[in-house]
């Protein structure tokens, strides 16, 4: 009774989901670089090799293209591979297999096969890893029909959405912000799923809708709390899924608040903010808008090394507060 909910870190939640899936289904295997005895670059697979052995926790050579393709071929023929990229940036090495093969195979073959592969991408800046290890590339893959692209923001969702992804017959790409790995939160024991394609309202509000992704959900919630002290009541939506995007939740919220701001870490231009903005502008919510839509995204630069510059590249809580205040008070 009234027991304190169990807390796990985001990375522990992912590991628990993988372990549950592997216990339940022999076909589930893990593949990736240094995910075995090393435990993964971010210790997400941890000690799973001790429980499931090297045949099911497979270290691959440093061959992102080939490795991703092996996962695709294994998925098509009956396994349920979960392929870990060491950094999401390395997706660039494997785009052929992700975009031309995994995403299209079912369609090209008229439905004769399915491709139940899961790929995990540690993403985002804030670790001092500079331009080739810090990007947020979810919009790249979100542009490709045939893929599902998700960005869980909490340990609860990291576990539930990964279990949903493993169960899904289509390829699911999971972008995990590296700064979230150590974040703790309530995670139920045992198996549960969080549906792909459903956004979540994290905070109810009347004055402004913020649609945020991944780590920006937390920054937006922090900003919302500060804004509440000023009498500005912000609704924060955790988008959770980039493709297929949850139209209903976003549009209903904007109809209620009459204002929209998109907050995301990826480069601002041609990104998720543009898609969310256009989706709202094309919808019945357009008639409810009291102010222009605002996008708060990453700078139009590679991610720099210097920590001050790195911080300046992506939206911070203060930026969100200032932009939201200006939007609501009309002081732009």
């Amino acid at each position: 009774m009234n027991a304190v909910p169990r807390e796990l870190s985001y990375s522990q939640a992912i590991q628990e989901a993988m372990a549950l899936a592997m216990e339940a289904d022999e076909r589930v295997i893990l593949m990736g670089e240094d995910i075995g005895v090393y435990g993964g670059a971010f210790q997400v697979t941890g000690d799973l090799i001790e429980r499931f052995g090297p045949d099911r926790v497979m270290d691959t050579p440093i061959s992102e293209l080939g490795g991703a393709g092996v996962a695709v071929g294994a998925a098509v023929t009956g396994l349920r591979p979960i392929f870990e990229f060491q950094f999401s940036d390395f997706a660039a090495l494997a785009m052929e297999q992700i975009v031309n093969q995994a995403a299209k195979m079912r369609y090209m073959l008229g439905g004769a096969v399915s491709v139940p592969v899961v790929m995990r991408f540690p993403a985002g800046s804030g670790t001092g890893a500079a331009a080739q290890h810090s990007q947020s590339l979810e919009a790249w893959l979100g542009h490709v029909p045939g893929l599902k692209v998700i960005q869980p923001a909490t340990p609860h969702d990291a576990k539930g959405m990964l279990l949903a992804a493993i169960e899904d017959p289509d390829p699911v790409m999971i972008f995990e912000h590296k700064l979230l790995y150590k974040m703790k939160g309530a995670v139920p024991e045992g198996r549960y799923t969080v549906p792909i394609g459903k956004a979540e309202v994290r905070r109810q509000g009347r004055d402004l809708t913020i649609v945020a992704t991944s780590i920006m959900v937390h920054k937006s919630l922090e900003a919302a709390q500060m804004l509440a002290a000023e009498g500005i009541d912000v609704e924060v939506i955790d988008l959770r899924t980039v493709r297929p995007m949850d139209r209903e939740t976003v549009i209903a919220s904007v109809c209620k608040t009459s204002r929209l701001m998109c907050v995301y870490e990826a480069v601002k231009t041609l990104g998720i903010g543009a898609e969310v903005s256009a989706m709202v502008a094309e919808s019945e919510a357009f008639d409810f808008l009291d102010a222009p839509i605002v996008r708060l995204g990453g700078a139009e630069t590679p991610i720099p090394y210097n920590p001050d510059l790195e911080k300046a590249t992506v939206p911070q809580v203060g930026d969100i507060v200032a932009a939201a205040r200006a939007l609501v008070t009309g002081a732009r």
Binding site: G66, V70, V72, M108, G110, A112, V113, S114
Partner: protein, 344 residues
């Protein structure tokens, strides 16, 4: 096929015969001939249909490479799997697909193997183990390795054959795939059909080694070179590689030296090779003519019996084209079918 009759094997004077005449019975040998003709006439039928505007897009014909496709597939069971290439019609037929449904696919019809969504470059027949042709050079290599990983992990006993062309041997996917298959000792056979040219660029101009199979030692596997226009040689090399794979000893790289009579695709003006060269292959090294000569030499088939095979194939091709013509076009409303799994 390999499990069936071996009629000639027991004959005392058969020991010096080429491999397939020792390994397979007459029925299988004649079926191989039938399929080689089926491949050639399918290609000719597809080409003619293209010229008549019944097929749009482009296509890559494998006329001249029939012994390679057939010899590779002969030692495989229907459960064994293949990944194929943009020049993949022959692989599909050799593995057991029906030409009628292939024509229907090329005509963009719902009765096609891919419901009209794939066309020539993505022709597949999963029911006979063909996981699909691929429009990306080298695209099928990692997928074949993945299929072999499934076979090993689930202990299905299947062997996977990965077809690719000489052009693919300079893709990174080739090197990554051969390395992984070898490191994990997977039941996969890499088959490089070397027709001398990656589009217009000859292997001499594109590839730092004389033979693609020379690359095999770098990945710790046997590399075997065969005359890709001699059915028995191709089948023998494949048979050995299949045995090795089924024993759990890992992959093999087979290079079949062959030649395509037609251009790379429909846009090819053949400026990179001479008429004499093409003529020489067609006249002196044709895989079907050589096989037919052997069948007669070894007393397996008479000229009349061979002609009967050709005629039966002609009828099958004509019927296939009619089936394709008569089949319905897809509904536009079904455009987004199978982008995702229904209800998922």
């Amino acid at each position: 096929m390999a499990d069936h009759a071996r009629a000639l094997k027991a004959e005392p004077d058969s020991s010096n015969l080429p491999f397939i005449y020792r390994e397979y019975g007459r029925e299988q040998l004649m079926d191989a001939l039938r399929r080689m003709h089926l491949i050639r006439q399918f290609e000719e039928g597809a080409e003619e249909s293209y010229m008549r505007g019944l097929i749009h897009g482009t296509m890559h014909l494998s006329i001249g490479q029939e012994a390679s496709a057939m010899g590779i597939c002969m030692p495989l069971t229907v459960e064994d799997q293949i990944t194929s290439t943009h020049r993949g019609h022959g692989h599909c037929i050799a593995k057991g697909a029906e030409v009628a449904r292939m024509f229907a696919e090329f005509f963009g019809k719902t009765t096609g193997y891919c419901a009209g969504r794939g066309g020539s470059m993505h022709i597949a027949d999963v029911t006979t183990g063909n996981l699909g042709a691929n429009g990306i050079v080298g695209g099928g290599l990692p997928i074949a390795v993945g299929a072999a990983l499934t076979a090993k992990r689930l202990k299905t006993g299947k062997v996977v054959v990965c077809f690719f062309g000489d052009g693919a041997n300079n893709e990174g996917a080739f090197h990554e795939s051969l390395n992984m298959a070898s490191v994990w000792s997977l039941p996969v056979i890499f088959v490089c059909e070397n027709n001398g040219y990656g589009m217009s660029t000859s292997t001499a101009r594109s590839t730092a080694v004389a033979n693609i199979a020379d690359r095999a030692p770098a990945y710790g596997m046997p590399g075997v070179i065969v005359d890709g226009n001699v059915l028995s040689d191709v089948a023998e090399a494949t048979h050995n590689a299949v045995q090795r794979a089924r024993r759990g000893e890992g992959p093999t790289l087979i290079e079949t030296k062959t030649y395509r009579y037609r251009g790379h695709s429909k846009s090819d003006r053949n400026r990179y090779r001479t008429k004499d060269e093409i003529e020489d292959w067609m006249t002196n090294r044709d895989p079907i003519a050589r096989y037919e000569a052997q069948l007669q030499e070894f007393g397996i088939a008479s000229p009349e019996q061979i002609e009967a095979v050709r005629e039966a194939v002609r009828q099958e091709i004509a019927a296939g084209i009619e089936f394709a013509k008569d089949s319905p076009m897809p509904e536009i409303s079904g455009l987004a079918d199978n982008v995702y799994t229904e209800g998922a």
